[in-house]
């Protein structure tokens, strides 16, 4: 803790005392990664999301896709999930006009807690339940340089939650990228949105970017009042602001301050597929120091995230979550062949025990980690990374009368190893093969451990939900072989990825269909979060993209996913919303075609998802119902009025006015018109 205190003191002292005045005018600067220059240099995106070390996307030792700023601009989308859903292996469940969940390689469900979402390496998912409220992310599409999508576990680098994948949203760097834009969008469902991004520079000393965004729309129409109560729906609206500042304190020392705030309201499905109107406030502050020292790139950072989530339908349920993360890291190329990263992370995570606010559940995690990338020959490189998380759980306060738990049950320590290993073999100038192994740890969330206790009154019976301090972390292990192929003669590239993944101690969500404690004369029945068994998955992803003469571009991908359940004896997976074999679509495909010529630009995307199943709820009891296969056609046409001003019309689901994609609200066709200024 002393080290952390000293780091905090140094960081805040520098910020407050104006360390910036020490900055010199040398041409040598400590580098926060200048993605733009490196991308122009190597003619391909550069990433740090694979190992924590800068790497060319093509030689990263993990399977990943990168969405560029140009892709985002041409997407015609007003949210990130729409863009992600066009990649191989990504499944998007749309619950409403402002709410959706993203799954990487199967296992998607309402409020899926398997995915780690970051902005510039800072977690932005809601840590109380480990899910991502995409509408609450404090980032505007116009300020995103690239979205890095790592498939499979990567918790050896990023820690808990990075089990199905990692989505790192990298914004433009105010020091290197002068991004200024203003966008106004209107559309069907009475959509209205405005985004502003402005970069400021004070010479080489201080660079800042601020962004502001707001949007609203009407909610999709409810076609089944028996499934979704009208009171559970509200018109989605979002408001967010962020500040990203970089100060060059000395030629070797750089400080970065990131502050963000967001507030959104939407209607969404909870993990048990019951809809609620939800309000979510988030606030985050991060301070980091980067020192280009003789012993490598030293980085220290500390950030705090706060979220306040109100479940409007459930009266008194307000989740207050606070996360503090402090990290120190050294990244060093020790010799021409080897790069090593050593890091230590501390995390404190707490939430109130709700809806009876009589206590709080919290944990502290200490996580040392190490990574080594080695160039074995001119064609072969190897990467190994390992991390150990030691989680100390605790509970302050008392429990509601119906909860049969004691605080001593929370005196628990969970220790878990994560590991990543990859071999990259560049067989020819055009062929790269990748063999990878990953072991990720999905920690129980605070809500599962004890942040959520509720007495539920159904029409004919009552049941109480409690946390479970004994729940075990899920371990996700992925074995994969990939082949990337450049096709320069036809200006294209392609890949094939084959993987086998196991999940042990899969976590289940409580429902009245799976009583953990039967009622007695004095006790109502109890249900809680629990481990429900194991699961296997085999999958195939293949994708290709390229450009054609006369301004044409194309991309296509196909994903096959097969999940096999291995339930624990006596466990009904449907009763725990854990029948992933049934709820994961087996086949998905995307096809994109675009053209640019003169001032015009046009793009179209076709998406297909095969049939799968979802959980309708009747009197609190889940069952399975078939969701038919569906196809979406999206498109965008843009015209450059001037070099700075673009007008665009885009549409989502142009082929159908309404498509059933879940047991929730049918997804409606949406049309947007936008005017964008860039300078």
């Amino acid at each position: 803790m002393k080290m952390l205190t000293r780091l905090l003191a140094t960081l805040s002292g520098c910020a407050m005392a104006g360390c910036a005045v020490m900055a010199g005018a040398s041409a040598s600067f400590a580098q926060s990664i200048d993605y733009g220059s490196l991308e122009q240099l190597f003619n391909e995106p550069v990433t740090t999301s694979a190992t924590g070390s800068p790497q060319r996307a093509a030689s990263a030792p993990v399977p990943m896709d990168i969405i560029t700023a140009a892709d985002i601009k041409r997407s015609g989308a007003v949210d990130i999930p729409t863009i992600l859903g066009r990649l191989a292996g990504i499944n998007v469940l749309t619950w409403g006009a402002g709410s959706s969940d993203v799954g990487v390689r199967g296992y998607d469900q309402a409020k899926s807690p398997r995915l780690l979402v970051l902005i510039n390496g800072r977690q932005v998912y809601t840590d109380s339940y480990g899910y991502t409220d995409w509408a609450a992310l404090p980032v505007r599409l116009e300020e995103i340089r690239q979205i890095e999508v790592v498939k499979g576990p990567n918790s050896a680098l990023f820690g808990f939650n990075a089990v199905s994948g990692v989505i790192n949203i990298v914004t433009f760097n105010p020091k290197y990228d002068n991004v200024n834009s203003a966008d106004v969008t209107t559309g069907t469902q009475a959509y209205a949105g405005i985004d502003l991004v402005k970069t400021f520079k004070l010479g080489d000393l201080l660079s800042s970017r601020v962004s502001l965004g707001a949007s609203r729309s009407n909610e999709f129409k409810n076609t089944d009042d028996s499934q979704i109560l009208p009171s559970s729906l509200q018109s989605p609206k979002t408001l967010s602001a962020s500040l990203d500042s970089i100060a060059q304190l000395t030629p070797q020392l750089q400080a970065r301050l990131e502050v963000s705030w967001s507030n959104d309201n939407n209607s969404t499905a909870l993990p048990n597929n019951i809809y609620t109107a939800l309000g979510n406030y988030t606030g985050s502050q991060r301070l980091s120091l980067l020192d280009e020292s003789p012993i490598g790139l030293l980085e220290g950072s500390v950030y705090q995230n706060e979220s306040y989530t109100k479940f409007v339908d459930f009266g008194d349920i307000d989740w207050k979550n606070k996360v503090l993360v402090a990290k120190v890291q050294d990244l060093l190329k020790v010799d021409p062949r080897n790069t090593i990263r050593i890091a230590m992370e501390y995390r404190h995570n707490e939430m109130n025990s709700d809806p009876i606010n009589t206590g709080s559940v919290f944990y502290d995690v200490y996580s040392p980690s190490v990574m080594l990338t080695s160039t074995l020959t001119s064609k072969l490189s190897a990467t190994v990374a390992a991390r150990y998380d030691q989680l100390k759980l605790g509970f302050d306060g008392s429990f509601p009368s119906y909860v049969q738990l004691t605080t001593s049950e929370y005196n628990r320590t969970i220790g878990a190893f994560s590991a990543n290993a990859g071999l990259v073999y560049t067989a020819t100038d055009d062929d790269t093969f990748r063999l990878s192994y990953a072991r990720g740890v999905q920690s129980p969330t605070l809500a599962e451990l004890g942040g959520f206790h509720a007495a539920i009154q159904e029409p004919y019976f009552a049941v109480d939900i409690t946390g479970n301090p004994s729940i075990e972390p899920s371990i996700v292990t992925n074995y994969e072989v990939d082949w990337d192929r450049a096709l320069p003669a036809v200006a294209a590239k392609a890949y094939v990825r084959l993987y086998y993944q196991t999940t042990t101690a899969v976590k289940g969500i409580p429902s009245e269909l799976g009583l953990n404690l039967y009622p007695t004369a004095t006790q109502e029945p109890l249900i809680w979060f629990q481990n429900v068994g194991n699961s296997d998955m085999t999958g195939l992803e293949t994708a290709a993209s390229g450009v054609l003469p006369k301004g044409w571009r194309w991309n296509a991908n196909y994903t096959y996913t097969n999940v096999q359940n291995e339930p624990q004896a006596g466990v009904n997976l449907i009763g725990h919303f854990a029948d992933y074999g049934a709820t994961t679509p087996k086949n998905m495909a995307n096809l994109g075609l675009g053209w640019s010529g003169g001032k015009w630009s046009a793009d179209g995307w076709l998406h297909y998802t095969s049939a799968y199943q979802d959980y309708p709820i009747t009197y609190g009891l889940p069952s399975l119902a078939k969701i038919d296969a569906y196809t979406n056609l999206d498109g965008r046409v843009a015209y450059e009025l001037t070099k700075q001003l673009t007008f665009a019309i885009s549409g989502q689901q142009l082929n159908s006015a309404r498509i059933v994609e879940t047991v929730g609200l049918p997804v409606e066709r949406r049309i947007f018109a936008s005017l964008s200024a860039n300078w």
């Binding site: 041409a27 580098q31 200048d34 490196l38 122009q40 550069v46 790139l297 190329k333 096709l487 320069p488």
Partner: protein, 173 residues
């Protein structure tokens, strides 16, 4: 069936096209990437930068490459924060007043490298043999993909080093 046959021919033709066209060096791209690499030097150059384009007038390949480099640089090639111009020079005439030397193909790399080292100039070539031998500090090729190789001993010999992030993305020997 006709439709399938047509697609089969198209795919077959594309595969043939793959096999038929070997990759050729692109001098204009090479010099552009070489210039951009200079921006990742510690205490590197900024603004207007003159590159000495070293050639051997007795070797046609060298002269042709010199001409191609000079054409690419033209009256000033903007590369990131730098504006590059070129100054042709023969090995015997290597002197200061330039920020770096670009060694054309077919040169006596040892002699040109030694002259560059004597003037503390970073030496760049499209031929990785130059770097492997230690005569050059850096080699840059862009076809079929960008490859940058740096000889650390040669770099240290003239007192230059590259920024950490850049070093992690290139090949060092």
């Amino acid at each position: 069936m006709k439709f399938r046959a047509r697609w089969a021919w198209i795919i077959f033709s594309l595969i043939l096209a793959q096999l038929a066209f070997p990759a050729y060096a692109d001098t204009a791209k090479d010099i552009q990437v070489a210039g951009r690499a200079l921006t990742f030097l510690e205490n590197g150059p900024s603004g207007h930068v003159v590159i000495g384009v070293v050639f051997d007038p007795s070797k046609s390949a060298s002269v042709a490459q010199k001409d191609a480099v000079m054409a690419a640089l033209g009256s000033g090639l903007d590369v990131g924060s730098l504006t590059l111009t070129g100054k042709p020079m023969e090995v015997g005439a290597i002197s200061g007043g330039v920020a770096a030397l670009y060694l054309t193909d077919g040169l006596n790399f040892a002699a040109a490298g030694a002259a560059g080292k004597a003037h503390k100039l970073i030496t760049i070539s499209a031929d990785s043999a130059c770097v492997n031998s230690g005569a050059c500090v850096m080699s840059v090729t862009t076809t079929p993909k960008v490859e940058i190789k740096v000889n650390r001993a040669a770099a240290a010999g003239i007192g230059v080093s590259f920024k950490s992030a850049f070093r992690m993305l290139i090949t060092e020997i």
